[in-house]
């Protein structure tokens, strides 16, 4: 009993202390459901949570998260957050799509959003958040085209379908934009998990004369980066800053800034401009994608300056990186 009272007392003090701060409270509650990676996955989920924490600090919303231990947890977790009366429930990762659209249809009063989810016909309370992966791919392609000494670079894709094509053709266009003479080796692993295959493909590319390989292949990419490490060549990471995997070999990474996207979305909610019923695409303009901050370690400053200029051109709509083979053919 004494213990309980003590806890209550501490809580009360904390709450009062919280009130003491000059922070505007909006009373808006936002919560997210992580996928199986968990909130500290050093990738999407973590980035999403950082975005929410920033929203808490700067926008005065109350934030929370629930972790999914397995795919079957997505729906129950959304129910939990629904019962907790959140204003917006976020699902992190494309696997969440089905659970989100079903929950949104069943609870028309509740707002939902899904990171990396595309919804065919979103209900007015549902938002899909996508990224222009072709834009950072174009930028890292430009860096690769400028930095290659052999005039050959490589791209390893996970599976051959439209999502990965955005990385693939954005990268190719960037390389060609920087260095029209440069040859690009492309190979798909048909897997997002088979690291050994990624390593074998990258080894083959390096043997064939490529000196920089970019991957968009999840776990397969671990093998690609490992091959770069072994052969002392360069690799380019994806989704997050992958420099930690091989500090001497990963020269840059094409990043998705999930944190910025989530912060932006929360802002729209606070401002009463929630883009319900649509799919929102975040690009360089919105701060939704970028290249890794660690790029300055390996990429010469003058190339990074050029990259900044290209960023401005992409934002201004002067360069439109292609997303598929057709657009690539017509590029420029």
């Amino acid at each position: 009993m004494v213990k309980k009272l003590l806890v209550l007392l501490i809580l009360a003090v904390l709450v009062l202390a919280g009130c003491g701060q000059a922070k505007k409270e909006t009373g808006i509650k936002v919560a997210m459901v992580t996928d199986v990676g968990g909130v500290n996955d050093q990738s999407f989920n973590q980035s999403a949570w950082e975005g929410l924490q920033r929203a808490e600090k700067e926008l005065g919303v109350t934030v929370n998260y629930v972790e999914s231990k397995q795919d079957a947890d997505y729906k129950p977790n959304m129910e939990t957050l629904l019962d907790a009366k959140n204003d917006l429930i976020l699902g992190i990762g494309f696997k969440m799509g089905e659970a989100l659209s079903e929950s949104a249809a069943n609870n028309p009063e509740q707002k939902y959003a899904g990171i990396d989810c595309f919804f065919d016909a979103p209900t007015p309370n549902l938002v899909g958040i996508l990224f222009k992966e072709q834009e950072p791919s174009f930028l890292v392609g430009y860096i690769a085209g400028k930095m290659t000494k052999t005039n050959k670079v490589g791209f390893v894709g996970g599976m051959d379908f439209f999502v990965i094509h955005k990385f693939h053709y954005g990268f190719m266009a960037g390389v060609k934009y920087a260095n029209p003479e440069c040859e690009i080796l492309v190979q798909y692993a048909d897997s997002f998990t088979d690291a050994a295959k990624g390593k074998a493909i990258a080894n083959q590319m390096y043997k064939n004369g490529a000196d920089i390989v970019y991957h968009a292949a999840g776990g397969v990419g671990d093998g690609v980066i490992e091959a770069a490490k072994e052969q002392n060549k360069y690799a380019i990471g994806v989704d997050r800053d992958q420099n930690d995997l091989a500090p001497d070999n990963v020269i840059t990474s094409a990043m998705k800034r999930v944190d910025n996207a989530i912060f932006n979305l929360t802002q729209t909610l606070v401002n009463g401009q929630f883009p319900g019923g649509s799919n929102v695409v975040y690009g360089l303009k919105e701060g939704g994608v970028d290249i890794a901050p660690s790029s300055s370690k390996h990429v010469p400053a003058e190339i990074l300056e050029e990259v900044e200029k290209i960023k401005a051109q992409i934002i201004a709509g002067e360069i439109i990186p292609p997303t598929n083979a057709e657009e690539f053919k017509n590029f420029k």
Binding site: D41, Q42, Q187, D190, T193, D194, A196, N203, D244, L245
Partner: protein
């Protein structure tokens, strides 16, 4: 062209190494009559332990041994369930396949401040490449053998050791007797439970080695998707190899070779869907084994718990 052949051979060795370790694990336990479909789970925990201990100790051998040990603990659990309690061996194996990834994830979060991936091991602290300095860079020998890690050679040594024990020692004869007819072995004074405990535990050790070979040599970190189906491919290789260590090794090499060819063909713009290529290793392995290997039969008492009172 010569370099490409070397690379295909090198890829074959790289690919098959973890599979060979794991399939040896299957061979050992099933020859004594304990089915082990938990190889996958044992590989996962082995891969995780290998990467974690390898990272923190900076010593790949310590990591490799820890991987084997972690697999061995799982093997022991399997033995407790299957030998002492005569549980259904398939059910216990499935439980281990759930337990492995679950525990790996749980421990990963403890050891790596909440992350589900372990931190990458520095190239100098990975398994050594014993023949790296024997061949000049970009030579046939380099692509074939120079760039291969110690685990590759260890796998072949392990095949020889297991073969030797199973077919050239009295212990091996006892193990096989226990797998074929435990009652007969029992009447001749062979301690069936004891043998099955040891073989099942060692089965886990080998599967753990296989996982660690993945996380300490092929890549240098563990992530939950690192082992995805390898244990089951190893299991299939063991069956195709007729429950014999050298047979399982050949099946693993065949699978690895098919992967090497797939990667080799994938570099050309052949206008064939890449998905078809991705099927090649599986189809090729199936066709060759069905066409040339023929019927394979498990040890007679494989999968049947042994209890003294049972009349067989």
């Amino acid at each position: 062209m010569l370099d490409s052949i070397a690379l295909i051979l090198g890829t074959t060795l790289m690919y098959s190494t973890p599979l060979i370790f794991a399939s040896l694990g299957g061979v050992i336990s099933e020859n004594s009559g304990v089915v082990n479909i938990g190889l996958e789970g044992m590989m996962v925990i082995g891969a995780f332990m290998g990467a974690t201990v390898g990272y923190y100790s900076g010593n790949p051998w310590l990591g490799f041994l820890s991987g084997g040990l972690a697999g061995g603990v799982f093997g022991f659990l399997h033995a407790v369930a299957c030998v002492t309690f005569s549980a259904d061996q398939i059910v216990s194996g499935i439980a281990i396949n759930f337990l492995g990834p679950g525990l790996a994830l749980f421990l990963s979060r403890i050891f790596f401040s909440g992350a589900t991936m372990t931190k990458a091991i520095d190239l100098n602290n990975k398994m050594p490449r014993p023949l790296a300095n024997l061949f000049p860079r970009d030579s046939f020998g380099y692509y074939f053998l120079g760039n291969r890690y110690a685990t590759v050679y260890l796998a072949f040594i392990a095949v020889f050791i297991v073969w030797f024990i199973l077919y050239k020692t009295s212990l091996g004869l006892r193990i096989r007797a226990v797998g074929e007819h435990p009652a007969a072995a029992d009447t001749l004074g062979v301690n069936v439970k004891n043998i099955r405990y040891w073989t099942t535990t060692f089965s886990g050790v080998f599967a753990g080695f296989g996982g660690a070979a993945m996380s300490l040599a092929i890549v240098s970190n563990f992530r939950p998707t690192l082992i995805s189906g390898h244990g089951f491919i190893a299991l299939a290789a063991m069956i195709f190899g007729k429950w014999k260590p050298h047979g399982a090794m050949m099946a693993c090499l065949l699978f690895g070779g098919a992967q090497g060819i797939t990667v080799f063909l994938g570099q050309f713009d052949l206008n064939i869907p890449t998905q078809l290529f991705a099927m090649l290793p599986y189809v090729l392995t199936l066709v060759i084994l069905v066409a040339f290997v023929g019927r394979s039969a498990a040890p007679a008492a494989d999968g049947i718990p042994y209890e003294k009172e049972n009349k067989i």
